[in-house]
Amino acid sequence: MTAPASRPLLVAENVSKSYGGVRALREVTFTAYHGEVNVLVGENGAGKSTLMKILAGAESPTAGRILLDGAEVTFRSPRDAMSHGIGIIHQELSLFPDLSIAENIFAGREPRGALGMVDFAAEKARTAAVLARLGRRLDPGTPVGLLPIGQQQLVEIARVLAEDVRVLIMDEPTSALSNQEVDTLFEVMDDLRRDGVTVIYISHRLEEFRRIGDHVTVLRDGTLVAHAPMTETDTGWIVRQMVGRGQEGLFARDSAATGEVLMSVTGLTAPGPAGAVLDSVSLEVRRGEVVGVYGLMGAGRTELMECLMGARQATEGEIRVRGRVCAEATVPARLAAGLALVPEDRQREGLVQTMSVQNNVLLSSLTALARRWLLSPRRERAGAGEQVADLAIKTPGLRAEVTALSGGNQQKVVLARALLTEPTVLLLDEPTRGVDVGAKAEIARVIGDLAGRGLGVLFASSELAEVMAMADRILVMAKGRITGEFQAGQVSEKELVAASASDKAFGGRP
């Protein structure tokens, strides 16, 4: 399959990794070829990050081995991997915004001069050299926080290149970048490739990685499903490998007949640090309808949900629920108007970890439950118990700490909280993120039931299969805009992917 010139440099051989009974990787063999760009793709939860953590020394495999230049190696830490010439750039920037470029690049490994003091001159000189290699003419003394995101990304790369790096792992580096910045990044990657650096590139963006990649490896549900030179593939093939077959069956969505408009949004616009995060978004959700919002990282899905819920301020636009304008942009006002949100990151934004299952479920409905300022334990139990039973939340008891539950059941607790407010329209941001396949199907079923009961559902997802299976109607977002609208069942993955990579706002599209 591989081109004759390719020489394997870094190989993960039959690698498995389990986290407390959950198998994140199953006997995956991944090969990165010397001096080439090796692309790794897969949906969320496919195991890409786990594999990269193993290659970069942040995790050790449960089984299998790693070969570097044909010899077996064991990494005890990221430092250890770095000393073997393997560097990683994470998706989230990990820079110190108040420190200069030079200080960032050498943070934790400052060149020492006399008396063990930091040798600032050497630091600056070496920084300038690294930046020159990247074709940048930046002042090493500039505080990183003043640079645009794209250049900050380059500083991250410079940080890795400042050490002798043979393998550079990049985890979705383009998610926050503008088109020009992506072009620059690809030029840099091209240069690195010419210098003999092996690049492992993780991405969602089909169009992008097809431009730069030499090889592509697809992971799905912790197993390797395909591995091929890029030239032998096409977009449709890659998407098919990513999504697989049979997954659709998990989400049985019988499209219910839809009714009147419950929520209408027109021209919603919100500013962000680098341009608008929402750019005149308009949409409608009808009674009994499940609307999916598909988009890649940074497309503006979460921002849309937050704006709708009043947790983020829009500068323009109008939101109506049941025809009534929602003027006050606060969470309590939007709850009162009939919206309820299940946020994306349930640990950070959903659960109150110090509270019991019951108290988490009741959190948004306390006023309604109280009689003359007092809560009645009986009513509390009844209210929470009903939701727990309805959603089949598996818990040792209503008073069990919520952290004792599995991810899927924790997600249902947050969902129960939203449902207890008796919303008109339910907003779900990545409702199945980080839950196992069984729980995914169950959550999909619950969403279908809710729509059947006459709710409007708007959910955001970055998983193609999920959107296609669960939604009645699909909106595609990219760069803060709606770039496509499709009826489920009449759309191919390819169309969705194309729309998600588009810059053009949806208008006269077919």
Binding site: S18, L341, P343, S364, P396
Partner: protein, 358 residues
């Protein structure tokens, strides 16, 4: 390895089952001991001091110690609200002093208006004092929620400012006589600090009422639940529709009101108001809350625990005085007990986590 799976095998939501106590094991026993650590420490203290002094367990000494506890308990209850939201209130000692000086001044020299001096009744004076404390608390809250000053800094600043105003009120002097005059209609201030009712000091009754109200608020009202939510995960609380700024400000107001009340009790008992009243009491109050199991990170803790913590500190201090331990050793013992209590709390968290994993 099978952490999550095992929990799921019990499918039906068993209402009300206290998860941890359902199975008996050595570890569950240890957890029970650690949970009851404050009560156990208190019992130990009583036993030790009883053997050292026959007077320790006399009725009158128990009453007296409880009365001494009441001041710190009321302060600590207020502070607990703040700590539950993940904040801290360092200004309570100063607010107590300021409230004492405001009330002392009103009783001793009245409110001097141009051409006239107005005297308020003792009840009015007490209300004004508590209102003043609540106001200072509101100021703390606004500094923290609106101007985004870190709670530690905002209340540290208020610690100095309130103390300064307390001294300014009398130019550093003492208001020596708070009995009031029948002619001015302002007698009776001494009732809250000196008198007894049904055999218990009025101050103790006040503590009981404050504690009962606080327990009701924290366990049975939407407000109380929201306080815990804000401290447990502020971002989640916001997205659940809780107005976190209002909740936090309210807790600082409660803290200020409790501090003022404690200052008035102290002043009433002493029969004199001086600007240094209740200096450093904030530390005792925070110590009581922490001893009682309140987490400084917020979200965990109970009023009952805090009251228990106040009893431990008060019974310890008085016991040390009663048996004649030197001032320096008193500090050493008190500090050690506080640190020990927190060590035990950490142990409890660890045991709990380990039990949850099985």
């Amino acid at each position: 390895m099978t952490a999550t799976v095992k929990g799921e095998t019990r499918s039906a939501p068993a209402p009300d089952g206290p998860a941890a106590a359902s199975r008996w094991s050595p570890r569950a026993g240890l957890l029970l001991l650690l949970r009851g650590r404050t009560a156990i420490v208190l019992v130990l203290l009583i036993v030790v001091f009883h053997t050292l002094s026959p007077h320790y367990l006399s009725d009158s000494n128990l009453l007296l110690m409880t009365k001494h506890v009441s001041i710190n308990a009321i302060l600590a209850i207020g502070v607990t609200f703040v700590i539950l939201t993940g904040g801290i209130d360092l200004s309570v000692g100063s607010i107590a002093g300021l409230a004492g000086m405001i009330c002392g001044g009103l009783l001793y020299e009245g409110l001097r208006l141009p051409g006239d001096t107005v005297y308020f009744s003792a009840v009015m004076v007490i209300l004004i004092g508590i209102l003043a404390g609540t106001g200072v608390g509101a100021l703390n809250g606004l500094l923290i929620t609106r101007l985004r000053v870190a709670p530690f800094i905002a209340t540290l600043g208020m610690l100095y400012v309130a103390r300064g105003f307390a001294s300014l009120r009398s130019d550093g002097g003492t208001f020596p006589d708070l009995a009031g005059r029948p002619a001015r209609g302002n007698t009776g201030f001494s009732i809250i600090g000196v008198n007894t009712w049904l055999g218990l000091p009025v101050a103790v009754w006040i503590m009981v009422v404050v504690a009962a109200a606080a327990i009701l608020v924290t366990t049975r009202t939407p407000f109380g639940r929201r306080v815990y939510a804000v401290g447990g995960n502020e971002r989640a609380a916001v997205l659940a529709g809780i107005r976190t700024g209002r909740i936090k400000t309210a807790t600082y107001m409660i803290s200020g009101a409790c501090a003022a009340l404690a200052g008035l009790l102290l002043t009433s008992e002493l029969g004199a108001a001086y600007p240094d009243t209740a200096t450093t009491y904030e530390l005792n109050a925070i110590a009581a809350a922490v001893l009682g199991g309140t987490s400084l990170f917020g979200g965990r803790g109970t009023i009952a625990g805090t009251v228990m913590g106040a009893f431990v500190i008060g019974f310890l201090s008085d016991g040390l005085v009663l048996v004649g331990v030197s001032a320096f050793w008193q500090l050493v013992v008190k500090g050690s007990v506080i640190v020990l209590a927190v060590v035990m709390e950490q142990a409890q968290q660890r045991v709990q986590a380990r039990m949850a994993a099985h």
